[in-house]
Structures are given as structure tokens and as C-alpha cells.
Amino acid sequence: MRIKCAGAGIGLVLGAVGLSGPAAAAASGPSSDSGIHISTRHAVPGSTVRVSTRACGSETYGKGEAEAGGQFHLFPGARTGVLTGEFQVPSGTEPGAYTVTLKCPPRVKVTGTYLVGTGNPSGSVDAGFGTGNDKGTQLALGAVLLAGAAAGGAIKMRRRLAGART
């Protein structure tokens, strides 16, 4: 969370001076401050990315431009002071980090970064826990039962022999 806040701070500063700073923004991932909020951390070709911002204040219209996604409009959403819009990542888009820029009057401009993946999974799958077999306990319990069975057997034998004698 610390990294995310620092990155969001950087993103705000960079956005405020109109610089896109993709490297810094990419390090923090999509920021979730009032500058710009991008819904999909890992977009894939063909998927829709939703963008929202508080940076336009009471304005009711904003213009968005997404690298690889094209232009889109931002309109007031359910919450006051927030403009939202969306764009689609074209199929065939190469994996990588892309910039999205939002503009609204009088001269507000904020940028953010979204990531496009291959759409395929990556890396290993965490699909096992190791059976909780406590081998030590099993062994101990088993040994006790065997010892008990042996002792019980011995008692029976003794009684049988004693009975045969009387």
C-alpha cells in the first residue's frame, strides 16, 4: 500500500505538469487517487478498460485518449465530481504499458498507464498444499495400538493357559 500511495503521488505530480512519465506510473500500476482511476490492472486485447477521474471538478465533460485504444468521452457517473469513460483494447495489441490521457476545461490534463497482457496465464500454478499427514502422530498412534494389541493378546493367552490348568 505504501508503494501504491507513493506512486499515486508521483502520478499526480507528473499528470499536473502534463508529463506522461510512463516509467514511473508503470512502476506504481494504475493509480487510485483523484487524478485518474483505471479499472483494469491487466487488460487483454479485446477487453474494455474503464477510466474515471475527479480532476475535472464540476465539469460535466472530458475527453480521453488511450494509446492503442483511441479516443473516448468522459461523462458524469453515479458519483458527483467523478467523470467516467471507457475504451476497448483492440485485439492484436502487443503486450506492454500504454498511456491514457484525460483532458477537461479549462486546462486540466491527467495521464495514467494501463497494462496490456497477452491474455494467457503466466507462471506456475499453486495447486497443492501437501497433505497434513502428521507422520509422527500416525506412527506414535499406530505403535500404541500395536503394543495394546500385543498386550491384550498376551493377557488372553495367560488366562487361557491359567484356565486350562484349573
Binding site: 507462471g123 500454478v125 499453486d126 497433505t131 493378546g153
Partner: protein
């Protein structure tokens, strides 16, 4: 003892019956034997890996030896059966986490097999990806015996459209999680192919399973 008296039973109140002793003996033996044997899931032998000179997607796949089967249109899988290892499992859809890794089925559904919902549906053109637990805290999971599969075994996946895609195993490999070959396992393919993944390799208490068992299979029939 006075004459005429009943003989006093001099044994104490509890005498274990033979049946009770037999139970204790058998249970004790079972516990000791399973504890000693260790209970590890079967792992693939090198005989089941791809031949060194060939890669997946080329002529070493099962489909090269079967009449060609057309790819099916997309349809969600519902049931997965692996007759050779007695698997008959319902299926559940899976997603990717923030790092792009495939999430396995929830830990409280160890008997379910999962499939990557945003990828190819099994039987359609491309690489369909399925995964399931090898075990959980409670015991073996749906894919406990996946490592015992051999080339030529079949995996049957029934889809929502009532067609069953039958895949034939081309290879069973074991990969280190630290060096997982993404392209080889997840990369797309021009034919209908299947991957079945579970945990495997060495197990350590602190770090869990070190590897993944990956079964590579190609569609060879539709029933």
C-alpha cells in the same frame, strides 16, 4: 473354595475380545505402514516427457497418428474424466490474479477441476488450460494421480453443448516453478490442445511443492 461353590472367576473385569484385538492390530499396522510409506503423489517418469528432438505442436503429438478431428465451436466445459486414473470431476471457471498467474479452484472444492475461463474452451482451436489440486490439508485432491498418466491415455471433457472432447496425452512433464516455461505451456496452438496442471516435485513444509506436473494433450475425437 468350599465344595459345591461355583469356581470364582479370578480374571479382572475387562478381558479384550479377539475381535477387538484384531481391530487394534489391523489399525495399528495400517497407521504404521502409511506413516512409513510417506504418501507422496505419483510423479511422471522421464519416459513420459517429450522426445528430446521434438517440441509440442509438431508431428510428435497424438493427432499426427489419428485421423484429423475438426475443432469445436466455443462451449464451456462441464465435466472432466480421466479413466486411466479414475478421475470424474465437475468443472469450475478460473481467473487470473493481479500477477497474471492462473488461480486454482478454491481450497474448499478439492474435487473440482478448473479451467481458464478467458482462454480457449476445451475442444476449440487453441490451447485450453485446466488445473486442479494435487492435495489439500485434508487429503488427496482431484489430480492426486495426474503424475501417473502415460502417453496415449485419454482425457475426456464434456461441454455445455453436450459434446465430449476426447484428448490423447502427448507428454507429461515436470517443471520447476522457478523456471516455468510460459510459452511452451500456455502459448497458443493452431490445433485444439489441452494442458492439465497440478503441483508436483519435491515438497517442503515451508515452501510447498517445488514444481508443476503439466500434461500436454491433443484433441483426437469428439463423441
Amino acid at each position: 473354595m468350599a465344595p459345591g461353590d461355583e469356581p470364582v472367576d479370578s480374571s479382572p473385569a475387562f478381558t479384550p475380545s479377539t475381535k477387538f484385538l484384531a481391530c487394534a492390530l489391523l489399525t495399528g499396522l495400517m497407521l504404521v505402514i502409511t506413516a512409513l510409506r510417506g504418501g507422496q503423489p505419483p510423479q511422471p517418469s522421464t519416459a513420459q516427457s517429450f522426445s528430446p528432438s521434438l517440441r509440442p505442436g509438431l508431428s510428435n503429438t497424438a493427432s499426427a497418428h489419428h485421423p484429423s478431428v475438426s475443432a469445436l465451436p466455443p462451449s464451456d466445459p462441464v465435466r472432466l474424466r480421466v479413466p486411466a486414473i479414475g478421475v470424474n470431476a465437475p468443472m469450475t471457471e478460473l481467473t487470473l490474479d493481479e500477477t497474471g498467474a492462473l488461480r486454482p479452484p478454491p481450497a474448499d472444492l478439492p474435487a473440482f477441476a478448473g479451467w481458464y475461463g478467458d482462454g480457449t474452451t476445451p475442444g476449440s482451436e487453441g490451447t485450453a488450460v485446466t488445473t486442479g489440486h494435487v492435495d489439500t490439508q485434508e487429503g488427496p485432491g482431484v489430480f492426486y494421480r495426474l503424475g501417473a498418466l502415460a502417453k496415449g491415455d485419454t482425457i475426456e471433457i464434456t461441454r455445455a453443448d453436450r459434446q465430449t472432447a476426447v484428448f490423447t496425452v502427448d507428454a507429461v512433464e515436470l517443471y520447476d516453478k522457478e523456471a516455468f516455461p510460459d510459452e511452451k505451456v500456455y502459448g497458443s496452438s493452431p490445433r485444439p490442445e489441452l494442458r492439465v496442471i497440478t503441483c508436483g516435485g519435491e515438497y517442503a513444509e515451508e515452501t510447498g511443492y517445488q514444481g508443476n506436473v503439466v500434461v500436454f494433450a491433443t484433441l483426437t475425437a469428439v463423441t
